[in-house]
C-alpha cells in the first residue's frame, strides 16, 4: 500500500536530522523586541488619538456663535411701540384682594412707586401698574369681603 510506503519514507527521513541553527534564546529575544515595538506603537497611537480628540474638541468649543442659532434676546424698541398689551379685567381684582389682605395701608397709593406718567419706551407694562393701584378698585374689593365675614360669625 502507498500509505505504508509513505510512513516508511518518513521514518527513514527522520534518522539523521541536521543540527539546528537557532535556539530558544533567539526566539525569546525576537519576541521581546516585537513586544517592545508593539507597545511603542500602541503608546504612540494612543497619544496621537488623544491629541487629535483634544484638538477637535477645542476647535468645536472656540467656534464663534452664529446670530440665528443663539438664545433669544429682549425684543427691540420697534416692536414694543407698535401695540400696547391689553389688560385683562379678571386679574385686576385678584391683585386688589391680595393687597387688602395685607392691610389697609397697602391699598393706599405708595408715593415711593414710580407713578409718573412719562412714557417709557422700554417698559410696556407701565399703564397696567397704574390701573391696579387705583383707589377705585380697592374700594370694590373691600365691599366684596364684608358678606363673607358676616356669614362665618353667625
Amino acid at each position: 500500500m502507498l500509505e505504508d510506503e509513505l510512513r516508511k519514507t518518513f521514518e527513514e527521513l527522520n534518522i539523521q536530522p541536521p543540527p539546528r541553527s537557532f535556539g530558544a534564546v533567539d526566539i525569546v529575544h525576537r519576541g521581546v523586541r516585537i513586544k517592545r515595538r508593539r507597545r511603542a506603537y500602541a503608546v504612540a497611537a494612543t497619544g496621537t488619538g488623544t491629541a487629535m480628540v483634544a484638538v477637535v474638541v477645542a476647535f468645536a468649543l472656540n467656534q464663534p456663535p452664529n446670530g440665528d442659532s443663539g438664545p433669544a434676546g429682549p425684543p427691540g424698541p420697534a416692536s414694543s411701540s407698535s401695540t400696547p398689551v391689553p389688560t385683562s379685567p379678571t386679574t385686576t381684582p385678584g391683585d386688589a384682594t391680595s393687597s387688602t389682605v395685607e392691610g389697609p395701608a397697602s391699598s393706599s397709593p405708595n408715593p415711593s412707586l414710580p407713578l409718573t406718567t412719562s412714557p417709557d419706551p422700554m417698559s410696556t407694562t407701565t399703564p397696567t401698574t397704574t390701573r391696579t393701584t387705583s383707589p377705585q378698585t380697592t374700594a370694590s374689593s373691600t365691599s366684596t369681603e364684608q358678606p363673607l365675614l358676616t356669614t362665618t360669625r353667625s
Binding site: 502507498l2 500509505e3 510506503e5 509513505l6 510512513r7 516508511k8 519514507t9 518518513f10 527513514e12 527521513l13 527522520n14 534518522i15 539523521q16 536530522p17 541536521p18 539546528r20 541553527s21 537557532f22 535556539g23 530558544a24 534564546v25 533567539d26 526566539i27 525569546v28 525576537r30 519576541g31 516585537i34 513586544k35
Partner: protein, 171 residues
C-alpha cells in the same frame, strides 16, 4: 515558572519534532527552519494569553501547518525564487532508491494535500484532528487525502505498485 522559562523548556522538548514536521511539509531544511522559527515566535507571543497549556503540542502543530500553508499561499512575487538547485541534497544519501522516488513524488503534491498526508500518515492523526489542525471540514480532509494519494500514484506510475509488491513478497 515564568512564561520565558516555560517556553524554553517546551522549545527544547519539541523543537526537533516540529522541525521535522516542517521539513516533511516544505521539502527542504532551509524553508522548514524558517517556518518553525515563525511558528515558535507566534507561540511565544501568544503564550501569556493562552488559557490552558495542556494542548500545546496540537496548538504548535496547527501553527506550523498554517504557517506553511500561508507561506505557500502568498503571491508569487513576494516569495524568494530559487534560480538553481540547492548546493546540498541531504536527503539523497540517507534514503533508499524507492523511498527517494516517493519523496520526490511527494514534492509534486499540492500544499494542502501534502499537509493532509503528513498529518495523517506521520503524526497518525484522525480525520477530525486533521480537520481541526487544518481548519477545514472532515469531508475536505477525506477528499484531500484521496486526491493526494491519487496524485502520488499518478506521479509514481503504475510500475511502482508492482515493484513495491515484489519487494514486499521478497521481504
Amino acid at each position: 515558572m515564568s512564561w520565558d522559562a516555560e517556553f524554553t523548556h517546551y522549545f527544547d522538548r519539541c523543537a526537533d519534532s516540529m522541525r521535522f514536521t516542517a521539513f516533511l511539509l516544505c521539502g527542504n531544511h532551509h524553508e522548514a527552519e524558517d517556518v518553525v522559527q515563525s511558528a515558535f515566535l507566534k507561540l511565544y507571543l501568544a503564550g501569556p494569553k493562552l488559557a490552558q497549556r495542556e494542548g500545546l503540542d496540537a496548538y504548535l502543530r496547527q501553527i506550523v501547518v498554517r504557517t506553511f500553508l500561508a507561506e505557500r499561499r502568498r503571491v508569487r512575487w513576494k516569495r524568494e525564487k530559487l534560480t538553481d538547485a540547492l548546493p546540498e541534497v541531504p536527503v539523497a544519501g540517507s534514503l533508499s532508491e524507492d523511498k527517494l522516488v516517493v519523496w520526490q513524488a511527494l514534492s509534486a503534491v499540492p500544499a494542502k494535500q501534502r499537509a493532509t498526508l503528513v498529518l495523517r500518515y506521520w503524526h497518525d492523526l484522525g480525520v477530525e484532528e486533521t480537520a481541526a489542525a487544518l481548519g477545514c471540514s472532515v469531508g475536505t480532509v477525506k477528499s484531500n487525502t484521496n486526491r493526494g494519494l491519487k496524485a502520488l500514484r499518478q506521479r509514481l506510475g503504475p510500475e511502482f505498485g508492482e515493484l513495491w509488491q515484489e519487494v514486499r513478497r521478497g521481504a
